[in-house]
């Protein structure tokens, strides 16, 4: 059935909830599979999420989770180097992978007649990725160039996603550079890669999701055919990465050789996202503060004080509000001209947050904020790949892919009181403040 607009829960103000099909099964080796058939276009999305990210890489091997993601594209038992790409693209599809703090994903969108090809390719590398010294050396060089183009040769490169964690967090897991130091990348060995694969790329540590022009029966047949004989392996228990609260403001300055003007980022540790009832008020709070010109900080800094260049805010160090595990921060980021002292910007932000904590939300503020969050969320779900990614991460982190349909209702359940209470936890004394200054200035 194509998705309809039937609400999956009682609605109060008519916020639209989708009702995508969610079906699931699992294999004896532990692989969990989610299928969401939708025949409205002849396309299919296939995504594999492994439950390992930057937080789990070993000390002395910063950047390894991401480097390993690159190695997963370098061939497997049945596929030579570059063949993974040529089979997907030569079927008319697109593909990529990405490494996050808590997961690493691999995904393809293809014409639906290539669905089985994509499943075969994912199974082949899950069963037996080919790891060679030549490919490792090559991909270390490629990743170093990725870091050059995105960080070293770019103004504001890595700000604040790479430069904030060491200020906000203490443990290696949470604070290290997830892109990796060049020394660590060059120190990576084939043995490191083999043991990382053995430990984290077990079928029981993955979720496979298929969305689009397929039937669940057909997907189950294909998945049995290609994945079932991958041997089960022990899956690692994810440790807690929680850290004890900050009690005194942490401040630091980072210099940027290429940036023409300063910037500042403020970060607070928020509540554990596994309890959505407690966490969603923070997601809504970030929007109340920074989503568009009707938001508190935009209104204050851009429309009234008019002394900054841009204002942004989000949950998650990589902006992945619904995709992160504990701990995850709320971040506010402001770019401002030299003439505006950073203390002026920070004082205005503190004042606005305090106002929200003291006086609460305005009459229509919550409803309109949630309306736009819902619209944006639905827009992300519309392409089959957007849907596959959300289904995967909800199944992996919360064992509940159905949250794709339930999230609009849960957002609507967030109360003004809860958002106000969340605002009250964003204080100067429990935050990290990172200034970026152009190298030339004082």
């Amino acid at each position: 059935m194509p998705p309809t607009r039937t609400a999956s829960r009682p609605r109060r103000t008519g916020s639209p909830a989708p009702s995508y099909a969610v079906e699931r099964f699992s294999l004896d080796n532990g692989l969990r599979v989610v299928v969401s058939p939708d025949p409205s276009s002849p396309v299919v999305a296939v995504a594999v999420y492994y439950d390992v990210g930057m937080r789990s890489e070993p000390e002395g091997r910063t950047g390894f989770a991401h480097l390993f993601e690159h190695l997963m594209f370098q061939g497997s038992a049945s596929l030579g180097k570059t063949e993974h790409f040529t089979y997907v693209q030569g079927s008319g599809g697109t593909l990529n992978g990405s490494t996050h703090v808590d997961y690493t994903n691999y995904y393809e969108t293809l014409p639906s007649n290539a669905a089985e090809v994509a499943l075969f390719l994912e199974a082949d590398r899950m069963r037996s990725v080919a790891l060679t010294q030549e490919n490792l050396d090559n991909q270390v060089a490629v990743v170093q160039n990725e870091i050059r183009v995105n960080v070293h040769n770019r103004p504001y490169g890595g700000f604040p996603w790479l430069s904030m964690p060491p200020i906000l967090y203490d443990s290696f897991a949470n604070s290290h550079d997830g892109y990796g130091s060049f020394v660590d990348l060059e120190s990576a060995t084939l043995d490191d890669a083999r043991s990382f694969f053995d430990r984290y790329y077990a079928p029981g540590n993955a979720v496979l999701t298929v969305v689009g022009d397929v039937t669940t029966e057909q997907v189950e047949e294909w998945v049995q055919r290609h994945f079932a004989d991958i041997p089960a392996r022990t899956t690692p228990k994810r440790p807690s990465f929680r850290e004890k609260a900050i009690t005194n403001e942490r401040r630091a300055v980072v210099r940027d050789r290429l940036a023409p003007a300063p910037a500042v980022a403020l970060a607070w540790r928020t509540t554990d996202p596994s309890d959505l009832g407690k966490y969603l008020p923070y997601v809504v709070l970030a929007e109340v503060l920074t989503d568009g010109d009707a938001a508190r900080l935009q209104d204050r800094l851009l429309l009234r004080d008019r002394n900054v260049t841009s204002v942004g805010g989000y949950l998650g160090i990589m902006g992945d509000s619904y995709d992160a595990r504990d701990p995850t921060p709320l971040i506010v980021e402001v770019h401002h001209p030299d003439e505006t002292p950073v203390d002026t910007v920070v004082a205005a932000i503190d004042e606005e947050i305090a106002r929200l904590a003291d006086d609460g939300l305005r009459a229509d503020e919550l409803a309109r904020t949630v309306a736009r969050m819902t619209a944006r969320y639905l827009r992300e779900l519309d392409p089959v790949m957007g849907r596959a990614q959300q289904l995967s991460v909800f199944e992996q982190q919360r064992s509940r892919a159905e949250l794709v349909n339930e999230l609009p209702g849960l957002l609507e359940d967030v109360t003004a009181v809860a958002v106000q209470a969340a605002a009250a936890t964003l204080r100067p004394d429990n935050r990290a403040l990172l200034e970026l200054r152009p190298e030339a200035s004082s």
Partner: protein, 441 residues
């Protein structure tokens, strides 16, 4: 090591249905295209208003006009507009390029009427309040400085200027000085003269009934009238490649390489062949160039070769950022691959693979509301109908190896491309000059 297994064969392809488009020209001259694409309860909007003009002052005013279009009307303040948009579950953005002012947005179906009324109000009575314009002007100056601190922007500006000189395509971003000189009265005058319905096109895609959507548009935008008609972009100057331009960026850890030249329009007889030649060369990840400089040699994170189709003339742009110490070797491989595609026939397998990719991409690109809206808006801007979605795959199917070679020779030979490099000149200049003629900025 596990034994190799056979990759399954592709199933039978299912073709996408051609979207059914309600295509209407309103009394005020605005063309409206509406397509029903249910899925999520949203509507996508794309409005294209031809806006080409010449010179720094025009670019500055056009840019600021877009940036302050939502800063107030005779009935609503900037804050009220922002609040209303949020209430509709909507967003609306104006953007400029050398040919047009674009206003694009999306909204919950329930807010479609509301966003249309707001759009009508903006088009007929945007007021460009002095305070807002002055604040936005200062902000734009800052943003331009940030933008121009990026090597990719430095390279693109130099390349476009080199290709097009004083033609509107030669200048995408205004100077800070021209921005500082803009007055609110000039924006109001520019709006009155150029933000006009005749020649403009509005595309609406989503959870709507097309006939009803057109009627809603007609009602909301009926008051948008003008006696002038939108103007088109002037003809391009003749292209001459010239020596490569090397722009010094002392201490840069990478060299930003960009090469570009004229390319066939989507409507040209050899466009399908040229687009496949480009794929095989460097237009997708499974290309020769990527296999060479990334997957074999590790010189770069990635190179891309793309066609862009501004209405006055298409171009091909070859882009790659490489580690400083392998700048000349990267250039060797790039010139080799361009030379090879232009002089030696591709294999049938390379062609078939690129062909399937090109056809598949079109299918994937139109499988969402936002993708379909942008595609239809793009097609109508290029004077192509939605039938292109059916006809272009047919053209791709027919392309032969010989046609690919002819198209590559015509458009992709390295001698036909202008080149700009941004990098540490002290390190890269000498070795580059052993390969190509280099001029320093």
């Amino acid at each position: 090591m596990t034994a190799a297994r056979a990759v399954p064969a592709l199933g039978k392809p299912r073709t996408s249905r051609l979207p059914s488009v309600a295509d209407t020209t309103l009394d005020n001259g605005l063309r409206v295209l509406a397509v029903r694409r249910p899925g999520v309860p949203l509507v996508e909007l794309r409005l294209r208003i031809p806006f080409a003009g010449k010179g720094d002052d025009h670019v500055a005013r056009a840019q600021l006009l877009g940036d302050t279009l939502l800063s107030g009307t005779d009935r609503r303040s900037a804050s009220q507009i922002a609040v209303d948009l949020q209430s509709f579950g909507g967003q609306l953005h104006a953007s400029n390029d050398a040919d047009r002012l674009g206003i694009s947005g999306s909204v919950l179906s329930s807010g479609f009427g509301g966003i249309l009324d707001l759009l009508g109000e903006l088009l007929t009575s945007a007021s460009y309040p002095k305070d807002e314009v002055v604040a936005e002007r200062d902000r734009l100056v800052q943003e331009l400085a940030i933008h121009r601190s990026q090597a990719s922007v430095i390279a693109r500006e130099a390349l476009l200027h080199r290709m097009y000189g004083e033609h509107p395509y030669g200048l995408e971003l205004p100077s800070a000085q021209a921005v500082e000189d803009v007055k609110p009265s000039q924006l109001r005058a520019l709006h009155a003269k150029r933000v006009v319905p005749a020649g403009s096109v509005l595309t609406v895609v989503g959870d709507v009934q097309p006939a009803r959507a057109v009627a809603q548009v007609e009602k909301a935008l009926a008051g948008w009238t003008a006696t002038t008609k939108a103007t088109r972009t002037p003809k391009l100057p003749k292209h001459a490649a010239g020596p490569a331009l090397l722009i010094d960026r002392p201490g840069a850890v990478q060299t930003t390489i960009r090469m570009a030249g004229p390319a066939p329009a989507r409507s040209s007889a050899d466009y399908a062949a040229a687009s496949l030649a480009n794929m095989v060369f460097g237009g997708y990840f499974s290309s020769r160039w990527t296999a060479n400089i990334r997957e074999d040699k590790g010189y770069t994170y990635g190179g891309h070769s793309v066609f862009e189709h501004p209405p006055a003339g298409s171009r091909i742009t070859v882009s790659v950022d490489v580690a400083t110490d392998v700048t000349a070797p990267s250039m060797v491989e790039t010139l080799y691959e361009l030379g090879r595609i232009a002089t030696v026939a591709v294999s049938q397998e390379e062609l078939d693979q690129a062909r399937r990719y090109a056809i598949g991409s079109l299918q994937l690109g139109t499988a969402s509301q936002a993708g379909l809206a942008s595609m239809i808006s793009m097609l109508v801007g290029a004077d192509l109908g939605v039938s292109y979605l059916r006809d272009f795959p047919t053209q791709l199917q027919a392309v032969t190896v010989d046609e690919v070679l002819a198209a590559a020779a015509a458009w992709m030979a390295p001698t036909r491309l202008s080149a700009v490099l941004v990098g540490d000149a002290a390190v890269v200049s000498d070795s580059l000059q052993t390969l190509i003629a280099v001029e320093k900025s």
